[in-house]
């Protein structure tokens, strides 16, 4: 009969009733799960937290509590906040690389455009030099003949 107790009630050495709120989420075949959660949060706090939630969300809540408890046991100083720091650092690094790569793409694009533009447009400098060797300078419409009148 004692094997019918959930991990929580077994650990707390109490009778596991049919309406035990912890038993669905702390089965007897995984005692370590409750031990971890109890060490960080305490049975009372876990019970209060789960009671406040609708039934369909309690499993996810129990899972996340277990994850956070494990993180805290492995890293008593930072717990799962250490993971957040690390992820943020990684994100910053990748963002920097992305910005750098996008800048390189922009440079390559503009170099390519410049090259195409130079190939497409006539070389006015050379044209003027050739003409000045042989002919009078070309007159352009709207050109001011002398001075800035």
């Amino acid at each position: 009969m004692s094997s019918g107790r959930c991990a929580a009630c077994r650990y707390l050495r109490r009778k596991c009733t049919q309406g035990c709120i912890l038993s669905p989420y702390f089965p007897s075949n995984n005692p370590q799960r409750f031990v971890s959660v109890h060490r960080i949060y305490g049975a009372s706090n876990v019970t209060k937290l789960l009671q406040l939630l609708p039934t369909h969300l309690r499993a996810e809540a129990a899972d996340s509590l277990y994850f956070e408890a494990q993180c805290r046991l492995e890293d008593p100083v930072y717990g799962c906040v250490g993971l957040i720091f690390m992820l943020q650092q990684h994100i910053n690094a990748v963002e920097s690389q992305l910005v750098k790569t996008q800048a390189e793409i922009a440079v390559m694009k503009s170099q390519g455009q410049n090259r195409e533009t130079q190939q497409a447009e006539p070389d006015f400098n050379n044209l003027l030099l050739r003409q000045s060797d042989n002919e009078a300078p070309l007159s352009f419409p709207n050109q001011v003949s002398s001075g800035f009148i």
Binding site: L49, G79, I84, H90, A93, T101, M108, K109, E116
Partner: protein, 172 residues
Amino acid sequence: MRSQESRSTSSCAACKLLKRRCTPNCIFAPHFRSDEPKKFAKVHKVFGASNVSKILIEVPEEQREDTVNSLAYEAEARLRDPVYGCIGDIALLQRKMIQLQHDLALARARLSLYAATDSAGISNTDSDQFCTAALGEFPVACGGGFMDSFSQTSYEVNQDTHMYDFSQIPYI
């Protein structure tokens, strides 16, 4: 005299909330000042004063401030989101990381293609079209729901970026 000292304003936020005398060697006093009552209230609500005290005793004194701040962060996250707590933040960051890694891989592939087409003498316009055609089917690893985020293995695009492998912590 002694009673006046005990009634002075030197009681920390923890002892005020717990309605007890704040001793000179109170473990909470350096980290839960009396002008920050909400900080301890949140931590106490989620973890309990006794558990916080045990955690603080286990860490070196110089790391207790960081410990308290991380506990406060976790408590705040849990009160804000009672189902997922901090894990919600982690899942969001993880998805952002995956998306960024995908964008970076795409950008690097595009850069390589530009370099290749440039050296081959292909025009800019043609290389644009070529890039779009070549990279149109680039695979995207999408993070799904909460469980998917934790069951995914690290999505490594290159050696420089590495995502934390949640499978190291027994979760699923």
